[in-house]
Symmetry: C3
Subunit: 359 residues, 3 copies
């Protein structure tokens, strides 16, 4: 996974000053870089480092004028920061997709097919009747149940578990330890106080370009033919709970440790912070923003609301109320003072009895 | 796992109209069903679909009178919905228990015994001196530590981890990624600011008919001979934390992401919603109901209370107070107005000084 | 792992009364102990049990005077409780480190080296260029990515996942299912409503003497050369979320289900309770104490504060305010009563209009 400086310059459409033949193996900050690394200089505050850096190459603005001797090779571009970002993305993709081949022992059941460029790590398990696309990366200890389908370029990090029947789209990333397709939490109370399990027979459908963090759980839908659905472009963090029959709309972002209860439908382009709880059978409109630790117990069908608190209210209203909450002991004191004064001021009237509710 | 329509009718005690020989492989909704599926018609609103469905068989009420031609086979029963539910349960049980045999590679230690009808998935690990009952299903990548016992008909989904010494009863279901028997969180503060680990030497006891969701964690008890106990019939959801020496009473239900701290004892037939936190060394009475995101910091020993809020109070009291919380800015305003008026009305008295607490 | 009573007495510096040759296999409470067990007697309330216990040996104070016949062997020491605790710790360490050798199948990549006394469980996976110290215990189904380093005497319980590049110190314990090094949650919003993934190229650094619970997640840092850092002596519980670039200071303790957002720096010797949420880019001073379910949205840079509530305030202030919160319906009532009286008392003045905000 090494490239020459010339190859990198060509990729960025940049011009080289110095030796373009050296190999680059890593990207680094200009102040930390070592031989074999490439760095960039965008902010003039960091210019001092270009004269001392050990980097083999530095990406600079094409009109950069050195004030001292420079020992590294320069790549001259229009926008060094943007070029470096492009490089980071290329590098990240290379790293993510570099693993190929089949490590042993690994397991694959009957009638399962995999595309080209696949990686199947050691101790990964693929059940029967599974269809896996091209360039899919299945890290060690992954479990893929029977009748599952996985689209092209999807990465399953170590020990992801997909229950039988799960459908995952293309270009998805699922991080380590996440469980997709576990039983929905459905139990019917019986007269003797016990509970009877309601069979969970649906599945989970994850569309394209979805990213899911580590140790998250997504339950399957209850009925045959129904699915818990994660729409295109959704980004989910770690330790999130998605219950049966939930639907998360396109491009919605959900932070860590949030939980969404059964059959709730979240709109598109929502931003849901961490540790939020959303009750079941609700509808949350597109572009809703929900603050950390919020609790939602009813539907919000107007787009673009900003919610906070538990139970949630409008974020500004919450903070106005919370400001007064902090003064409550004082408010209580002031109220008592007023009551005393009023009693004093009105002692000549018959209504002097305490209202009896001053507990 | 296919049955003929005749076999299904016999199982349901129903009568057949049409060809009973066709094989059925799946259950479906009447509007979605395909050839080889069985559906049911209970609600008259759906009657239209029976004339167009592709299902091979439909379960109907025994007095059903068709208004048009029907191409599928009918099974006539007393209560189609209840019959379909029965069928769902049979089907679910069949699916759950269909896996048998030992996939390779899998690992089993010395002196461990397994009953008949067992499934041991590839990459499952069974330690030494383990006793496993009949019809136990151990999915791929499960870890079962030394000296563990597991009762009949229990299902361990992929990658369940049971630490050494765990005891699991019969007819339990534990979902993927759940950890049973990890160390309790016990550390003794030292004078130099560091902490010394308190050895955790107890185990976890899970009784019969318990269901536990995915990626949940249950810590072992601290002392030898002690156990963290999950009583008969408990139903737990995903991502729940149960600390050392906790006891969860019979038939209690706990929703996702709830955490229960060390040595707390939860009663029987409680219903605990999601993201609830319960502090350590408490007692919660039978039939207590706890609302989502509630925080419990003291014992509630009276049965049947309904709690809400953090810290919890009675649910109705919470919502009455919360209604006023939302009006707090207005209440503050009204109080100031009154103070102004009183100051005006009482200026002729000596007590005109501000109370000084109006911050 | 059996010792004779003589060996145990020697270890504790105690004197024996009776037969020192019997083998001891377990520690137990005096009232529960069986043959082959050792117990202790410290509290005189339990003296009755020493005359009936089945324990093979009991640790007693050196001046203990039996009032009846005793059938078990005695070990006489200065402080029986402290001796028993010492024994517990020895025993715990023995149990923790008893596994050695390499179970098959297991996987190790190119250029990876392991020290002496290692345990590599079946289905454990070690990538390439990994350096592992002496006496490291790698339980079954553990995943260790490429370029990882692990210090001496560290225990990785079943199915711990360390992403490539993770650094773990000496004497650490990481419990089952925990994920270290998953991608930070970084996405750049695009004009069309989609999100672009920000490459996560840093790693996680865990220093010495750190304990981490089960199914916890720790994300890697965003940039090359940066690390999410868990300092020496930190103790973390189950199901905790640590985001990218967080730093947890020395000897800080964090209870279950707490989440800490990106780039926040927690001080040393803090105590953070369960289900706490801390927002990103904050600084929390040393010795801060945070109550359960608290929500922190700003930095607290003064040492030793005790915080509670969501958003947090001083713990005492919170409970004073919460006491009044519970009375809010009554306060609202009293305020209305006063308003009525004032209106009555001031009807002769022109200002009798309602303030209009009484909603």
């Amino acid at each position: 996974m090494e490239f020459s400086i010339s190859q990198i310059a060509a990729m960025l459409g940049g011009k080289i000053t110095g030796d373009g033949s050296e190999k680059i193996g890593m990207l680094a900050k200009i102040q930390d870089a070592k031989k074999g690394h490439i760095a960039f200089l965008s902010n003039p505050k960091y210019e001092q480092f270009i004269y001392t850096t050990n980097a083999s190459a530095v990406i600079v603005k094409k009109d950069f004028q050195a004030k001292k001797n420079i020992s590294c090779t320069l790549i001259l571009v229009d926008d060094p920061y943007s070029s470096f970002t492009t490089l980071l993305e290329h590098y990240h993709r290379l790293i993510s997709f570099q693993k190929t081949g089949i490590e042993q022992p690994s397991f694959i059941g009957d009638n399962s097919i995999t595309g080209s460029g696949i990686y199947r790590g050691a101790f990964s398990y693929i059940g029967s009747n599974v269809k896996i696309g091209d360039n899919v990366k299945i890290y060690p200890l992954v479990f893929i149940g029977d009748n599952t389908t996985i689209g092209d370029n999807t990465i399953l990090h170590p020990n992801v578990k997909l229950y039988a029947g799960t459908q995952v789209g293309a270009n998805c990333v699922i991080h380590a330890g996440t469980v997709v397709g576990s039983d929905g939490f459905g139990f019917a109370p019986q007269e003797d106080g016990t509970y009877k399990t309601i069979p969970q027979l649906g599945n989970v459908l994850i569309e394209d370009n979805v990213t899911i963090g580590a140790n998250t759980t997504i339950d399957c839908a209850t009925l045959f033919g129904d699915a818990t659905i994660i729409r295109k472009g959704v980004k989910m963090d770690n330790l999130i709970q998605i219950a049966h029959n939930v639907e998360i709309g396109k491009n919605t972002v959900i932070a860590a440790q949030t939980g969404i209860s059964g059959s709730t439908k979240i709109g598109e382009n929502c931003v849901i912070a961490g540790q939020v709880g959303i009750a079941g059978h609700l509808v949350i409109a597109n572009k809703t923003s929900v603050g950390a630790q919020a609790g939602i117990g009813k539907s919000f069908t107007e787009e673009g609301q900003r919610l906070f608190g538990s139970p949630v209210i409008d974020v500004k209203a919450f903070f106005r109320s919370y400001a007064v909450f902090k003064q409550l002991p004082d408010i209580n004191y002031r109220l008592r003072q007023l009551e005393k004064k009023i009693r004093g001021a009105t002692t000549s009237t018959p209504d002097t009895a305490s209202n009896g509710s001053d507990t």
